[in-house]
């Protein structure tokens, strides 16, 4: 479960990215967070992953109040989250396989189990044949699917995706959303930040709409 209560995020420059955010997301829910550029979607997702901290208010993830966690506890929390970053954060100096392997190395999986899981995740996103390729050789859609594979390979309870369909054609964007839907169907909580209104029309899921840092829906 994800719970925000009275969350404000104000940067030192004085800019208020989020104002009085209150919501609860139940386990295994699929939620779209939408809004214009600069509405605060990415900031909200970063607060969930404890990449940034709120100025005031309380954020509780799976029963843990983020304000009470120390550095190591935040690391262990993140292992339970699958993150798809807006800027992808792919390591181009290693193969697709090794990119997806990284979360499992962090979790301390033995190589045999990790290999099986990596191939299963790559199969899920349709990149099995590209396992040994370098990410530089992948198309935009394939890179995005690589990020999804890396996010889900550790079997997280919550999947967070920041603009996962940005710069993708509608067909490719739908492919990505379908992958998220299939993950949601197996019980993973999925949060997707997007400004693509076409996706929202098709998805028929709960929507949290942000405008100038405030929840409007």
């Amino acid at each position: 479960m994800i719970s925000f209560s009275g969350v404000y995020k104000r940067y030192l420059s004085g800019f208020e990215a989020l104002k009085n955010i209150n919501f609860t997301i139940e386990p295994a829910e699929m939620v779209f967070i939408t809004g214009h550029s600069g509405a605060g979607k990415s900031t909200l997702l970063k607060l969930i992953a404890a990449i940034e901290r709120p100025t005031t208010g309380s954020i509780v993830i799976n029963g843990q109040n983020l304000a009470a966690l120390n550095g190591n506890e935040i690391s262990f929390l993140r292992r339970n989250l699958g993150l798809v970053f807006q800027d992808q954060k792919i390591l181009f100096d290693r193969a697709v396989f090794d990119n997806v392997l990284l979360p499992l190395q962090i979790n301390g999986f033995d190589f045999k189990t990790a290999t099986e899981r990596v191939y299963a995740a790559l199969d899920k996103v349709g990149l099995l044949k590209n396992a040994k390729s370098r990410p530089i050789t992948l198309s935009g859609s394939e890179r995005q699917r690589l990020c999804v594979a890396r996010a889900v390979v550790g079997c997280p309870s919550i999947l967070i995706a920041d603009e996962p369909t940005a710069n993708l054609d509608t067909d490719y964007a739908n492919d990505i959303i379908n992958i998220f839907k299939s993950l949601h169907q197996v019980g993973i909580t999925v949060l997707i930040a997007t400004h693509n209104t076409e996706l929202l029309g098709n998805a028929q899921q709960r929507i949290l709409a942000l405008s100038h840092g405030e929840l409007t829906l």
């Binding site: 940067y11 709120p54 100025t55 262990f76 993140r78 390591l91 979360p103 979790n107 033995d110």
Partner: protein, 311 residues
């Protein structure tokens, strides 16, 4: 436990890969560390050997008591009894004047001269081994015996070795200071090498942190890298000094023989070798730790720089 082993195994493999990915750079770093550490190690070995040599030459501290020429056998017997009962004296040996003359005759070129002497000019003498080798104790015994009426002259034959010992102590202090300074250099070398490694892998570190890596996970491969590199540097220092000792050992032994001295150079003992290896590894670990701590601090402060946090 298996996760712990898995993390350490992953870190070790990653560290070895970092070493072999840039073999020339790694080799040069190891040589620099080896040469830097071979200087204090070589100085220490030299001083240790000199100390052994000075111990061989001087042996246990001794006093030579030369008796007045007119000392008779009764007085010598009384003197023997006094020496036996003296608490500071471990043992003594009486050298009668005729025995001393025979020993002198055995020396090259002196037999003819001694044969020409009308009478034995040498006095009876005692060679006294003392219990306590402390300079103050030796001095007080020397002064006491000198005052005995039978004593003509008391020779204190360890003065020069004491001076040598003092010089050796000074030399050891200088070697220790050098080791300290070059140890600091080793930390700086490792810090800089690991810093360059971190710069090359900044993205990997940042992504790892974002997907759940603890600071220990990020730090571990670099700690292994710094420790292994410095330990190999320590082994290189050991090999460099062994090679130099091998080069000069034969020449030095031959030179010492010309002065009728048996001098053989010895390398570090197994304990000292272990200390060299361990200290270089620890300094490498410390340099790497400082470098990664600096990187992690910068990464986290970059994430949170724009945050004014209140609970």
């Amino acid at each position: 436990m298996s996760i712990w082993f898995s993390h350490h195994w992953h870190a070790l493999v990653s560290a070895l890969r970092k070493l072999t990915d840039a073999p020339i750079t790694s080799l040069l770093n190891i040589v620099v560390i080896g040469v830097a550490f071979s200087l204090p190690t070589g100085a220490y070995i030299l001083l240790e050997n000199l100390q052994v040599f000075s111990g061989q030459v001087s042996g246990a501290p001794q006093l030579n008591l030369f008796l007045a020429l007119d000392t008779d056998k009764n007085k010598i017997a009384e003197l023997e009894s006094r020496l036996t009962q003296h608490p500071q004296i471990a043992s003594f040996q009486f050298i009668p004047k005729n025995v001393a003359l025979q020993q002198l005759k055995k020396r090259d070129g002196l037999a003819d001269i001694i044969d020409d002497l009308a009478q034995n000019p040498l006095p009876d003498a005692f060679i006294i081994n003392v219990k306590d080798a402390a300079p103050e104790s030796l001095e007080s015994l020397h002064t006491e015996i000198q005052k005995w009426p039978e004593a003509d002259y008391v020779q204190f034959n360890s003065a020069w070795t004491r001076r040598l010992d003092a010089l050796l102590k000074l030399g050891k202090l200088a070697a220790l200071t050098l080791a300290f300074l070059l140890g600091f250099a080793l930390v700086a070398i490792t810090f800089n090498t690991v810093r360059l490694q971190i710069l090359a892998r900044r993205d990997e570190i940042e992504i790892s942190k974002l997907i759940g890596a603890t600071n220990d996970f990020v730090r571990r491969p670099f700690l292994y890298f710094g420790t292994i590199q410095a330990a190999i540097g320590g082994i290189t220092a050991w090999l460099i000094t062994a090679f130099i000792l091998h080069l000069i050992s034969n020449e030095l032994t031959s030179l010492a023989k010309l002065y009728t001295v048996d001098l053989r150079l010895h390398h570090l003992s197994s304990e000292d070798s272990a200390i060299l290896l361990l200290s270089s590894a620890c300094l490498g670990w410390f340099g790497a730790w400082l470098s990664v701590a600096n990187c992690l601090w910068k990464t986290e402060s970059r994430w949170f720089k724009d945050t004014k946090y209140t609970h």
